[in-house]
């Protein structure tokens, strides 16, 4: 990271910490404790599975909420409060500012997710069975969740470069849901046999980020090994898509008049 983006990133992380964003960890910890205690009584034979599924789902949902709601405010808050004015008078380019804000939220999400991973590991330890090699797929699933969060954050940042936080939230969630249903839509297009509709759904399928790629929760729960090639492909997919979004965001934001 360059000398100008790093301070922005660190400051963004500091803002999240001082705004008590990490307090969500308390809720997560309480949830994992509650689940670890209750799960033995209601779920026969699948205590571990339930803990893994619940933990990973919660890591994903908590992260998504943070990525969307902090993400849409990354830029707009600085404009609205005019904190950006004095910053942009410093020798920093606008895209450097954007990348810094992005990296800062990503750092926040990584730290947050790391703590949640520790809580999940503790809950798994509590319900028994020492860790085995197949548990590494849990870590892969968490890595995939982080890739997903990186993508969602980039989406939120992109939209917040030209629309209000409320609209940006709607756009981001809209794209997210479209991305989750992307493969379903493509299937529908193929099923109808209508070539033009099929073409449209195919375009959407390749256009929107396909969040289905990053879902390895079920596989992790069953201790299935996730092929290394998929890890590589998913990483590359996320990197490419995030780069695309950040480039677009920079292009839009660099031309924006800060009234």
């Amino acid at each position: 990271m360059s000398a100008t983006t790093a301070p922005v990133a660190i400051n963004t992380f500091r803002e999240a910490v001082r705004d008590r964003v990490l307090y969500n960890l308390i809720f997560f910890a309480l949830m994992m404790i509650g689940a670890a205690i209750i799960v033995g009584q209601i779920s026969i034979g699948i205590e571990r599975l339930v803990i893994i599924n619940l933990g990973l789902s919660a890591i994903s949902i908590f992260g998504l909420v943070m990525a969307v709601f902090i993400g849409v405010g990354l830029v707009s808050k600085e404009i609205e409060k005019r904190t950006l004015y004095s910053l942009l008078a410093k020798p920093i380019r606008r895209w450097e500012f954007l990348v810094g804000k992005y990296a800062g939220l990503l750092l926040t999400l990584v730290v947050n997710t790391s703590f949640m991973t520790i809580a999940l590991a503790a809950a798994l330890f509590y319900v028994g069975r020492p860790f085995v090699r197949s548990d590494s797929s849990i870590l892969v699933a968490i890595y995939f969740i982080l890739l997903e969060l990186a993508l969602v954050t980039a989406l939120a940042l992109f939209f917040s470069c030209f629309s209000s936080p409320t609209l940006s939230t709607l756009f981001t969630l809209g794209i997210y849901i479209t991305g989750v249903f992307a493969s379903d839509m493509r299937d529908v297009g193929e099923l109808t046999g209508n070539p033009s509709l099929n073409a449209v759904t195919r375009v959407i399928y390749y256009l929107v980020p396909n969040f289905h790629n990053f879902n390895a929760i079920a596989a992790a729960g069953h201790g299935e090994s996730i092929p290394l090639s998929l890890v590589g492909q998913n990483t590359l997919y996320a990197v490419l898509y995030v780069t695309l979004l950040l480039l677009a965001a920079s292009a839009v934001f660099s031309k924006r008049n800060l009234k």
Binding site: I42, I44, I46, L49, L54, A218, G221
Partner: protein, 303 residues
């Protein structure tokens, strides 16, 4: 504020909040009285289409599968043992759970038992149980347990020994499968319906399960099968006794006195067997043992 008045204010606040909560609780009970009965009558699933549930899960299908499976277990657990229990929702719940997470092996395995048990102990739907397990095998080809479950269902519920043997044989092809699967396949093909084969199937089920309900059920079955085997021996002895004494024994004590047995045989519950006027042995009326009725074909004693 002075301390005294402060204490009073806190006191008033506590009383006030408690009163408000009491009122809210009262109100909720009134509302429940009107609505709960309706709810109980038409307990149903909001969504019956498994694929719709899967789409709506937004990628959190694994967690949702656990929730549906837990609901299925609770649904079964709340009803099992109650007279004229019905299990209409059992299949949809299992269907959704296994669609949401096709690798949820436990749902196929126990779901099949819940579905196939007759009478108040289950839905009595062996057809659905077999469909469920077959789906499980298709999704989890490496799970030989499911092949063994399928063999059990064909054997015990349908007495389709040919299909049962085929299922065991299919499972035995899995390199991870234990050797008894192959043995079972041969045995079922050769001597389907024998008490010994039945006992073997149940005891394997008991050994392989971690679920206390299933284990208890298997133990009961094995005790029943043991009693059935004992009764068959006693009936043979009673026939021999009749050849000597021209009448059926009235009790197992007479068989002992005639030197046909060494002691008084008791069932796995510890009660001595009794004889009816037709010379057939039966369980002591106080015994809790249940002789399984699933095998309608005449049972040949093992040799």
């Amino acid at each position: 504020m002075r301390p005294a008045s402060q204490t009073r204010a806190v006191g008033i606040a506590i009383v006030g909040v408690s009163l408000l909560f009491a009122a809210i609780r009262f109100l909720q009970m009134q509302i429940d009285a009107k609505t709960r009965t309706v709810e109980q009558q038409k307990e149903e699933l909001l969504l019956r289409s498994p694929s719709a549930v899967k789409r709506m899960s937004l990628g959190y299908n694994a967690l949702l599968a656990d929730i549906y499976w837990t609901r299925a277990v609770q649904y079964y657990g709340n009803r099992v043992g109650t007279p004229d229990a019905t299990f209409e929702l059992l299949w949809p719940l299992l269907d959704i759970a296994t669609t949401l997470d096709p690798k949820l092996v436990i749902a196929y395995r126990f779901g099949a038992i819940f579905l196939s048990e007759p009478g108040p102990a289950g839905a009595g739907r062996s057809d659905l149980a077999i469909e469920l397990v077959k789906r499980g095998i298709a999704e989890n080809p490496d799970q030989w347990n499911l092949n063994s479950d399928l063999g059990f269902l064909y054997y015990w519920r349908l007495q389709d020994f040919q299909s049962s043997a085929a299922a065991y044989l299919e499972g035995s092809k899995n390199p991870k499968a234990p050797s008894w699967l192959k043995m079972m396949a041969a045995r079922v093909a050769e001597k389907g319906g024998s008490l010994e084969t039945s006992a073997m199937i149940w005891s394997e089920l008991r050994n392989s399960t971690q679920d206390p309900i299933v284990r208890e059920r298997a133990t009961q079955m094995l005790r029943g099968l043991k009693a059935q085997e004992d009764e068959m021996h006693l009936d043979d002895l009673a026939d021999q006794y009749k050849k000597r004494s021209a009448h059926y024994p009235a009790s197992t004590g007479e068989l002992r006195d005639a030197g046909l047995i060494n002691g008084i045989p008791v069932d796995p519950d510890g009660y001595p067997y009794v004889f009816g006027p037709d010379g057939k042995s039966r369980l002591n009326p106080q015994s809790t043992i249940v002789i399984p009725k699933e095998l309608r074909t005449p049972l040949s004693p093992s040799n």
